[in-house]
């Protein structure tokens, strides 16, 4: 059984668990009132929510929503005003994460669908995404990993070494940081092992940090090919485990925080522009 098959056999049920967890979170949110109706049935609430979402997407408010996502959820202008260093580390971590997830998604699409099913490997701009050693793919992956690593290191220093007074560190925080740290560590190791294995191409040096690190340990008498399979599955499944944990821990803020930021900022802007009536911070 190949490493990839093992990965999918474990990954898919974990993703089902993730979806169940998200369903539980949504069910809890649904206990609140929607459109002023606290006692409406879940079906009615979902209908009202769907109408509201569609009404927003199909109106000029969509522009505000997109702007809110970019300026406040992603670039986090408010955090930039409050604390530049925190902003930098959070922006690096988030951007790196988004970049790596996007690249993984595009790579899977290219490899498993466009090449495997539709045999489009002859098209260079499709084939490149399935090749981790292509200059563009390699550099982008490296940038993503460096951003995440830099951001995470600052979080570790701030929370556990500097122990900034405003922070209240609990088990949830530690689990989250531990999970992220392990993913990054195994990611770097997987990349180093891959570069030293027979799977890497001659252009592997475009991984501007991974390649020199791989060179450092190249001389070690290790079964690089076998190690690569093991690390590939471990890194992948660790990511899957952390994803499963999202609905049940602090990681949920990645989804909920983005949604809340977008909605509240969009509403504030709509009031400021006179598109809607409301107080500076009105009730939902």
């Amino acid at each position: 059984m190949s490493a990839e098959t093992i990965f999918w056999i474990v990954h898919l049920p974990l993703m089902l668990l993730f979806l169940l967890g998200m369903g539980l979170v949504f069910a809890n949110w649904l206990q609140g009132s929607v459109g002023g109706q606290a006692d409406a049935s879940n079906k009615q609430k979902i209908r009202t929510l769907t109408k509201s979402v569609l009404a927003t997407i199909l109106s000029r408010k969509l522009l505000l929503l997109v702007k809110s996502f970019v300026v406040e959820a992603w670039f986090n202008r408010r955090l930039y005003r409050n604390d530049r260093w925190r902003w930098l580390s959070h922006f690096a971590l988030l951007s790196g994460f988004m970049l790596l997830m996007t690249l993984s998604g595009i790579s899977a699409l290219s490899d498993k669908v466009l090449i495997h099913l539709f045999h489009l490997e002859h098209i260079p701009w499709i084939a490149m995404w399935a090749n981790p050693d292509h200059p563009i793919t390699a550099v982008l992956n490296e940038i993503g990993a460096v951003l995440m690593t830099g951001g995470l290191l600052y979080f570790l220093v701030r929370r556990y070494l500097l122990r900034v007074p405003q922070l209240r560190t609990g088990p949830l925080d530690t689990w989250m940081i531990a999970g992220l740290s392990l993913i990054l560590l195994t990611g770097w190791i997987t990349e180093i092992v891959r570069i030293n294995s027979s799977y890497a191409e001659a252009t592997a040096y475009f991984a501007f940090l991974g390649y020199p690190l791989a060179q450092l340990v190249q001389g070690l008498p290790l079964p690089w090919d076998t190690l690569f399979h093991g690390m590939y599955v471990s890194h992948g499944l660790l990511t899957s485990l952390v994803i499963v944990y999202v609905p049940f821990g602090k990681f949920m803020h990645v989804i909920a925080g983005a949604l809340v930021t977008m909605i509240n900022q969009m509403n504030e802007e709509a009031v400021r522009l006179g598109w809607e009536k409301g107080g500076a911070h009105g009730r939902a």
């Binding site: 408010r78 959070h90 922070l167 107080g279 911070h281």
Partner: protein
């Protein structure tokens, strides 16, 4: 204890509770925590965390599979204390990196605590007083115009008029607390001088309901809302002006929601009307020679978004020296008078006021201006306690003082 009922929260508020990253940014900005650091439960972070824990234990995966445990009484009790030791200044919401609408969330938490009978006993007294007397002081509501009795001449709009373009909603504090009488006295003087067709509701005016709404007892305010709106509609007025920011916000934002329909008239704050009257040349201002600073009331600034109108009024006074304090506009430090905290913890309220006074003193201004009778009362109390050489005035009082009257010319 019954299971945790989440119906007092909206769908979005429950999302906000999940969205909190516990980054602690709110802690550094919380004015009450700065004065009471032994009570962690006051901090926005801990308030949300308490609810996250309570919701998790009642509705999390383990509870769904094996049944929910009984509610943690100790956690609830600490949570209740922290929730009511909040001035609802909203500073935490301004700095929250995920834009949680904290003020609305705290009010929803209070509503839930009221449902569970975990609110302070003083809130019951408040509710009983407002329900029976229609004001917060417990005085006979027929005495709503007592503030007008020592006016040298009482403008026509103060009593006896039944129809007018503008209704001046005086509010309970200005109506019944002698320290604040000069605010409505000054305002009606200005309105009269400017030739504004106005009236006051007199004893038909009832408490706007704000103290009940923020105490988590908004259901008890519905009758007040209905009564007040009907009273204004009967006058045919196109505008309602309030000098109290809390009354203003309640009328402007809460009334349409509670009523379920538009009011049918415009709602403005006194500073907005003053700005317009000055801009139209309907009142002329003389000079004022003492340096002033301005305190942004929470319910006018952060809650209602009105920062510029009061500043434009100040700057239109000839020769005025206006110095801003360290924390202004959306970052303004609370005076400590809001959130019903004065009722729940008088000392805490006074401590917060003291800190704001220190910021005012640092500007070397001789006069602290504000646009809220509650801020004026609280800051004046701080000035008295500190024996500071400063005067606290409402902006309306200053304008009345420097206003050139037709009779003077």
């Amino acid at each position: 204890m019954a299971a945790l009922d989440l119906r007092r929260f909206t769908f979005k508020q429950l999302m906000e509770i999940t969205a909190c990253t516990r980054c602690g940014e709110c802690i550094t900005w919380c004015p009450t925590f700065a004065e009471k650091e032994e009570l962690e439960a006051i901090t926005p972070l801990r308030k949300i965390e308490a609810l996250q824990k309570l919701i998790g234990r009642q509705y999390g995966l383990r509870a769904r599979l094996f049944g929910a445990p009984p509610l943690d009484g100790a956690l609830l009790s600490t949570h209740a204390e922290g929730t009511y030791d909040c001035t609802l200044c909203g500073r935490c919401g301004v700095v929250c990196p995920v834009h949680i609408d904290t003020r609305s969330l705290w009010i929803a938490m209070r509503e839930q605590l009221v449902d569970m009978s975990l609110h302070p006993e003083t809130m019951n007294t408040l509710r009983d007083t407002v329900s029976s007397s229609y004001n917060i002081s417990g005085d006979d509501n027929k005495d709503r115009l007592i503030w007008s009795e020592n006016l040298p001449t009482i403008p026509e709009g103060v009593k006896g008029k039944e129809q007018a373009e503008v209704v001046y909603f005086v509010g309970c504090v200005s109506s019944f607390y002698p320290q604040s009488y000069s605010i409505p006295q000054s305002f009606v003087e200005i309105l009269d001088e400017a030739g504004v067709d106005f009236l006051t509701l007199g004893e038909a005016e009832q408490c706007c309901g704000f103290p009940l709404i923020i105490a988590g007892m908004g259901d008890s305010a519905r009758e007040l809302v209905r009564h007040n709106v009907e009273a204004v509609r009967r006058t045919g007025a196109e505008m309602l002006v309030a000098s109290c920011p809390s009354c203003y916000h309640t009328w402007h934002s809460d009334y349409p929601r509670l009523l379920g329909e538009p009011l049918g008239f415009e709602v403005v704050h006194s500073t907005e009307l003053l700005r317009d009257l000055i801009g139209e040349g309907r009142i002329k201002l003389g000079s004022f020679g003492r340096p002033v600073t301005y305190h942004d009331p929470c319910d006018l600034g952060r809650t209602s978004g009105i920062y510029d109108a009061p500043r434009e009024v100040i700057r239109s006074i000839p020769g005025i020296e206006f110095i801003e304090m360290k924390d202004t506009r959306q970052y303004s430090l609370c005076c400590g008078g809001g959130g019903d905290v004065e009722m729940a913890d008088k000392e805490l309220s006074a401590s917060v006021a003291r800190r704001r006074l220190e910021q005012a003193q640092a500007t070397s201004a001789q006069v602290i201006l504000s646009a809220c009778q509650q801020c004026k009362r609280t800051l004046a109390g701080a000035v008295r306690s500190a024996k500071a050489r400063m005067r606290v005035m409402d902006l309306v009082e200053l304008v009345a003082r420097v206003m050139e009257k037709q009779g003077d010319q």
